[in-house]
Amino acid sequence: MSDSDLIKILASILAQSAPLMLAITGETITERVGVINLSIDGSMLISAMTGFVVALNAGQALTAAGIPGDTLPILAGFAAAALIGALAALLVAWGSIRLKQDQVAVGFVLTLLLADMANFLGQNFTHIPGPSVAHTPIPILKDIPILGPLFFDHDLLIYSTLLIVASAWWWLYRTQPGLQLRGVGERPQSAFVRGVPVNRLRYLYTAVGGALVGLSGAAFSLDIKLGWSDNHILGIGWIALAIVIFGGWHPVRGAAGALLFGLTKYIATVLQQSFPQVPVVLFNALQWLLMMGVLLMVGSDISKRLVSIAPEALQGPLSRMLRVAPPEGLGQAFLED
């Protein structure tokens, strides 16, 4: 394997992981403000369907009106998908904040409902060719050795995803609204005492996170796994939820988790090609085992013991880095007064 092959593989893993990163970033934001949106698997499925169908129809309509081209229809598709994702997330927030229902129960039922609705509403649009996001390498930057082909030889979706992950980090850790977001998720009572509108922020960021989840669905149907079919990307949402935990509710670590997941998938594919006599299911199971192993490592006291071996000066930052404590107020409704 030559160096350029390796870069090509890494670049493709990055591209394949981008939609998952969007979903993870969205759910990270939602959970950071204290709401568990368990509906994201169904939500991604229905926004994948909506994104594809809207882009397809918009394309046909615009072509009929004499405006050809894929860009506008695709933007319309993404916008519709974001809207659907935000609405689904708002339902969970509303159920929790206003109706005082359990977030886990609402989210879980919603995910089943949305998945079935997606299959039902999308049944006339299965296996149809449709618009897709165009490949747009960035001039000049793409010619930088190594970094060029790795980061700047993709489409707009991938660039935006990386930008969104970075902005999410910046927002959470460098701005006043982001600090308030985290405060609401950790200690809603304290935030309330300081005059932060707890439930308003919970609605707002749940919707923002949900919109990103919606974008992620459309990113699959319009870019990575083109088109629509029954149960198109069923299951990916649960992976995203697991990686949010693995990433310690941190957008950059979540994105790294998505890349790791992409890597295990790639390894499974390669192994499968190298050992055709071994059943495919085994390799598919391998990535789950790997993920479980990593989750156990990070979440159990094994990691604590490993940290305690490290030099004392490193122990603090190391245990911070490995910390997977969820936001303290996660999943709790907050009563203002």
């Binding site: 701005t175 600090l179 200690r187 309330f192």
Partner: protein, 552 residues
Amino acid sequence: MRVELQDIHKVFGLVHANRGISLILEPGSIYAVLGENGAGKSTLMKILSGFQKPTSGTILLDGKPAIFETPIDALQRGVGMVYQDPADFPPLRVVENHLLAYDTKFQLAFTAAADTLHTYAQRFNFHIDPQVHVDSMTLGERQQMEVLRLLALGADLLILDEPTTGISAEQKEALFNTIRRLAYEDQKTIVLVSHKLEEVLELCSEVFVLRQGELAGSLKLPATANDLVKLMFGQETERTERSPIDAGKSVLTLAHASFGDRRLTCESIDLSLRESEVVGLAGLEGSGQGLLLRAAAGLIPLKEGKLTLDDLPVEGKRSPFFWMPWVAGLFFLIRLVMLMIGRVSGAIVGLALLGGIAVAAILSATIWLISEILIVWTSESAYHQFQKRGGAFVPAGRLEEGLVPNLTLTEHMALVTPDHQFTVHWDRAETSIKELIQRYNIIGRPNSLVNELSGGNQQRTMLALLRNPLRLVLLEHPTRGLDITSANWIWDLFQERRLEGTAILFMSADLDELRERSDRIAVFSGGEMVGLVDANEITVEDLGHMIGGQRA
């Protein structure tokens, strides 16, 4: 800033928490608000700090009426409160905690905030590192941090809710110096909600005492502790004589026991109870007497020392299979080494190695799982040992810990009847519970849910379900919230048990009850047992002093 409260009332449903409280707070003074639990101090402070709105009444700031909708309204008008559990964010860094909702600048100015913190900290000799995480700080440091933040936000009136609970002596000293400087140099108004008479006497210039929601009186300091105690507890009642009972052999012994929770540690406590003896635990809420009860029941582990019941240790039983998980690990390692040897010698080729490792992993994981189950099945908790040997613990939280909400009285009976049969004999359970309902005067039917009963009847139910005979009963506030007749009736029941030789250890906030019902009283203050006295000889006044921190 001069603050005036005029005729403040606060009603929660049926509870009248504040009844027409009026008081004046002058700048440059340190005030204390004293009162027992439920006297209405926290409600009053929550109203003053904008956390709750009064049902009626006015707050005047420098003569102008002020209405606080939220705590932030109050803070903008200069009223800041340091809560007992500080309103901070443990997972954040100190500088982030300081900046949260501090100003409206979009981007966080970490350096400027750290500088501000540093300047304020230096003035009051606090040592606060802006970069550490709040959850790695002590309660005292978190409190200091909160004081600095409120000052930086321009607070003129500072309310501190039980600021010395759970902080070290040095931190207390630093806090008191800060309070003095704020009052006397900066002319700020300080209000201290406290339980500790000594501290109040040391620090404050005027004391307001609340009793049952009313202002029982105020007192300019200096005054004596006697005067304060009289205001707090009212008149002393005479103790009725009670026939002495010959205490038999020792039942419960705590020797050099240390235990604690997040807030409080009790070190080296010695206490022993003999048959038929009643020992009362006195102290303000959270002084260690609650921890002692739970430690004696085996519910919180002892860090040091020994707990015995009838001369047998109560320490839980380790499973005889505790070594089994190690076998699982060892098995896996040995298999791994054998596979490697096979690979090197050429006996194992290609995928067989991978398969071998997978099989070994699955096998050792299975052994591990089985051993975990065996361990869970064969170990025994200290509390279950305590119960088996004839101990009982009656918690104050009736529906939280004592009873099972949404189960009926009959179902409770079936739960505690130890007939170990697979199917429940409902008719038998119903007959027994009917008897108990009669005997214990419970207002309820066999099929009433326990959460539908009134508090007093829930208490009776819990006592009715206690086994017979018992060696030891531990009671948390056995008569809290009950009227005198019910309380007397409950104590008559315990008197019967006592004649059978049961030892009783109970905590109560009612000094009269403690004196009346105990043979000896152990007094707690700030995690220390400050005295173990004969109930016949102690006066309410002396008890009050000891509760306030003075040694016997």
